[in-house]
């Protein structure tokens, strides 16, 4: 096999040569079977959401995409292709441009959802060798910028969104306070690094960044269930970009970090919050990538919540969730881990009106944001176009809310719902369970406080009163959306649609916070940010970067200036924006206090 690769190295680029050499080490019997067995029957074609939404383009067909990898295999590893390459469609790869073309296929035209695999009469598992191809390209540095950035963050910072330890702990403490306030119980807190806990709870960094409400909701459920639980101060990220990048080394290192932390805390069980790829990576693939036998139990938080209800540890009132909901099965949960009945069982216990989506369970369509697609902004138009089939599937249910047990799906669905103007909300089971939970007498919020809720709600609505916020974005729709939202919450908003105006307004208005887009005509957001930080008069202004190009994170964090107080990826929904603005401004403390 080595000879087959090295015998035709003339005029082959260094990267192409490395890809072929490493391919021989990556191939296992399952992959070889899948690479050799395709009969080009085309039965997989209609199973792919890319095909269904792009019916005029055969290059989206799973078999076509698979053949871009298969031709390399045939040319170098299958002797028919070595002897008569043109006859069986075998072809080698020589240039870096060809590697870029392959990148476009394996990252940009497939979410590794595995739907074609379960529809192949031959049992060809395309997703498995597509992931292998991703890994080969990543090993020679050929990958979308977003994949490089996220992988780097996970290698270096320990989580895929670059959340610093202080930020994580701050968020837990913040949510802990919210929980204590909500339950009017000072003992209702999030325990951190508690030894010998029955449950160690791991989360997705997205929860810290964009959706801390899910942490508070989970904490509320654990607390009311009387659980002996904890969250680790480090090694808490259960997501794993190694699954998406195909980098088994990264996958193993990330999984091991989590396993070792649980062992260090002597935790009895690792509970994984609702995240499809996190669940699959941590529970199913991690032990294989890390070659590590995990000495404790692992389960999805969906099972944990279901068990609490079944055991009577928490009580729920489904009438609190009246809106019609449907359930979206995450590909990684349903098609790769068999987790599809429990979420439904739980959902039916906490909502009044559940409407099944069709197709569902292992046959469900991808949210179209899977396989790391949400971090590859160069493919966003393609992703949204391919989401048409999902949009049709969602709207056929007539539901007002789509529930999913996956953070990636939350983002993918939110984006497509906005794009296709479906007018649906997206939620997770933890939010619905927390909403439906019946707070027992001993921890019930005193009635007097309950009656004041409307006042608090009013106060919350004006929570940003006395704060001046400069919103900077070159897209008028976004500018209007952010401004209206912040004004509705009491903030005084000023707007700038380019970098120079933003700097001028920052100097003249001295806002408390600047929400800053990065890609803008003229002076871009990165330069504006650096100018702000280097100006002694402006350096204290809090900045929240909001960008549709998460791969530009590096341009901000690599600068030798103080980091921004917040960093959000577009699209941002109203709740996420408000939560983060309140967090950055430490709302509750008035300016100057």
């Amino acid at each position: 096999m080595e000879n087959a690769v090295s015998s035709s190295t003339e005029e082959r680029s260094h990267k192409a040569q490395k890809v072929l050499e490493r391919m021989s080490k990556k191939l296992n019997r399952q992959m070889v079977g899948s690479l050799a067995a395709c009969v080009h029957c085309g039965m997989c074609t209609d199973s792919c959401h890319y095909v269904l939404s792009n019916p005029d383009d055969p290059t989206y067909a799973p078999a076509y995409k698979a053949d871009r990898i298969r031709k390399l295999f045939k040319r170098h590893f299958d002797w028919t292709g070595r002897v008569l390459p043109w006859w069986v469609g075998a072809k080698s790869i020589y240039t870096d441009e060809e590697l870029e073309e392959l990148k476009d296929i394996v990252f940009g035209k497939c979410t590794n959802c595995r739907r074609c695999s379960i529809n192949c009469p031959m049992g060809v598992d395309f997703a498995t060798f597509n992931r292998m191809a991703r890994g080969l390209l990543v090993s020679v540095g050929v990958m979308p910028e977003g994949v490089a950035v996220v992988s780097k963050d996970q290698w270096e910072i320990g989580n895929q969104m670059g959340v610093l330890k202080e930020e994580y702990i701050d968020t837990l403490e913040w949510m802990s306070e919210e929980l204590s306030d909500e339950l009017n119980d000072p003992s209702a807190v999030i325990p951190i690094d508690k030894m010998d806990a029955d449950i160690v709870y791991s989360i997705n960094p997205r929860e810290v960044k964009y959706d801390p409400r899910t942490i508070a909701d989970a904490a509320k459920i654990f607390y009311l269930a009387g659980e002996n639980w904890t969250m680790p101060s480090e090694g808490w990220d259960m997501t794993n970009f190694g699954l998406f990048s195909g980098d088994d080394d990264l996958g193993g290192a990330v999984a091991l970090r989590l396993y070792e932390k649980v062992s260090e805390l002597r935790g009895k069980k690792l509970v994984i919050s609702e995240c499809g790829h996190g669940y699959r990576s941590t529970k199913c693939e991690g032990p294989n990538w890390a070659a590590h036998t995990v000495p404790f139990e692992m389960e999805s938080s969906v099972l944990t919540m279901l068990r609490y209800i079944k055991e009577g540890r928490i009580k729920v009132d489904k009438s609190k969730n009246k809106e019609p909901v449907t359930f979206h099965d995450s590909c990684n949960n349903a098609r790769s881990c068999g987790l599809f009945e429990e979420p439904r069982e739980l959902l039916k216990l906490v909502v009044e009106d559940f409407r099944e989506m069709y197709p569902n369970r292992s046959e469900n369509y991808c949210c179209t944001g899977g396989g790391g697609a949400m971090s590859m902004s160069e493919y966003t138009p393609r992703r949204l176009k391919s989401a048409k089939v999902k949009a049709d599937q969602l709207s056929a249910t007539g539901a007002k809310v789509v529930v999913t047990s996956c953070h990636n799906c939350v983002d993918g669905l939110t984006d497509l719902i906005r794009h296709y103007k479906l007018g649906m909300g997206v939620s997770q089971l933890v939010n619905l369970v927390a909403n439906a939970i019946v707070v027992p007498e001993q921890v019930a919020v005193p009635e007097a406080v309950e009656t004041e809720v409307p006042k608090e709600a009013v106060a919350e609505e004006r929570a940003l009163e006395n704060y001046k916020i400069l919103v900077v974005d070159d897209e008028p729709d976004i500018l209007t959306f952010y401004s209206t939202l912040l004004e509705d919450n009491g903030a005084q908003v000023i707007q700038a649609s380019d970098g120079d105006t933003a700097l001028a307004l920052a100097r003249s208005e001295k806002p408390d916070l600047i929400t800053l887009d990065l890609s803008m005509p003229g002076t871009d957001g990165g330069e504006v940010f650096e100018s702000l930080r280097k100006d002694p008069e402006l350096s204290n202004i809090r900045v929240c970067i909001i960008t549709g190009k998460p791969e530009l994170r590096r341009l901000i964090y690599d600068r030798e200036v103080q980091e921004p107080e917040g960093f959000l990826d577009k699209p941002v929904d109203d709740e996420t924006l408000l939560l983060n603005v309140r967090k950055i401004l430490e709302v509750g403390d008035k300016p100057g206090e």
């Binding site: 987790l339 099944e356 069709y358």
Partner: protein, 232 residues
């Protein structure tokens, strides 16, 4: 019967079969040289299933058109698949019946069944040729081997269909063409996509094993099309 036809029915076929068996042995040896990936994690998913059930379900998949959306929603294509492969079995069977058990063809039922099955497969293979040429998705993934293999089988079906009566006294040309095509087919198969059936047990075994261990296989029955409300 001429010496040439006798040679074609016996020695030629035996040599072709030996070559095919040798190449198949090499193919399987080659596949087994690759290490099988293993899963060391705890099983996941539904408790009703396991590795063994997953493997059996995966192997049986071929006979369960309801099991996959791709076959469930393309019933006519599935019927074509069945007819085509029954035709292959009949045409291969014929190459053994004529030299080794010709008396079986004296039965009108046997000969009619064989001829009908091969004729139906011939028609299906013509449809498949048309599909491969006219469908842009299939055309985009087709190699010369895909076209050649299909055309080879189509022609082979045609001559097999005509050979069923097996009456050399009425002229040996058809039988000679059929047996030489069969020999070529046997030798060519291991080098072509037609050898897929050799891989089938392996690919489906491993896929079923993984999916069974992870609680995915056997697949759950789908809800009926359209949203289904389960109020309360």
């Amino acid at each position: 019967m001429s010496d040439l036809l006798h040679f074609s029915e016996h020695t030629l076929q035996e040599v072709a079969l030996v070559i095919m068996a040798c190449v198949y042995t090499l193919r399987i040896t080659w596949l087994l040289r690759f290490k099988a990936g293993k899963e060391r994690q705890a099983p996941t998913g539904q408790f009703r299933t396991n590795r063994k059930k997953g493997i059996l379900y995966s192997w049986g998949n071929i006979a369960m058109p309801w099991a996959m959306e791709s076959t469930r929603t393309k019933k006519f294509f599935y019927v074509q698949f069945v007819i085509f492969h029954l035709g292959v079995v009949s045409a291969i069977g014929l190459s053994f019946i004529i030299p080794y058990a010709p008396q079986l063809l004296d039965s009108r039922i046997v000969s009619a069944t064989l001829q009908l099955s091969i004729a139906a497969a011939f028609v299906v293979s013509l449809l498949r040729v048309y599909r491969r040429i006219s469908d842009k998705y299939i055309r985009a993934i087709s190699s010369p081997d895909d076209y050649f293999s299909l055309i080879l089988l189509t022609v082979w079906f045609f001559f097999a269909m005509l050979s069923v009566p097996s009456r050399p006294e009425a002229g040996e040309t058809i039988l000679l063409i059929y047996f030489w095509l069969t020999a070529f087919f046997l030798i060519y198969v291991p080098f072509s996509k037609i050898s897929h059936y050799l891989y089938y047990p392996f690919t489906r075994y491993y896929f079923g094993k993984t999916m069974g261990y992870r609680g995915v296989y056997p697949l759950e029955k789908q809800s009926p099309p359209g949203p289904v409300s389960m109020k309360g």
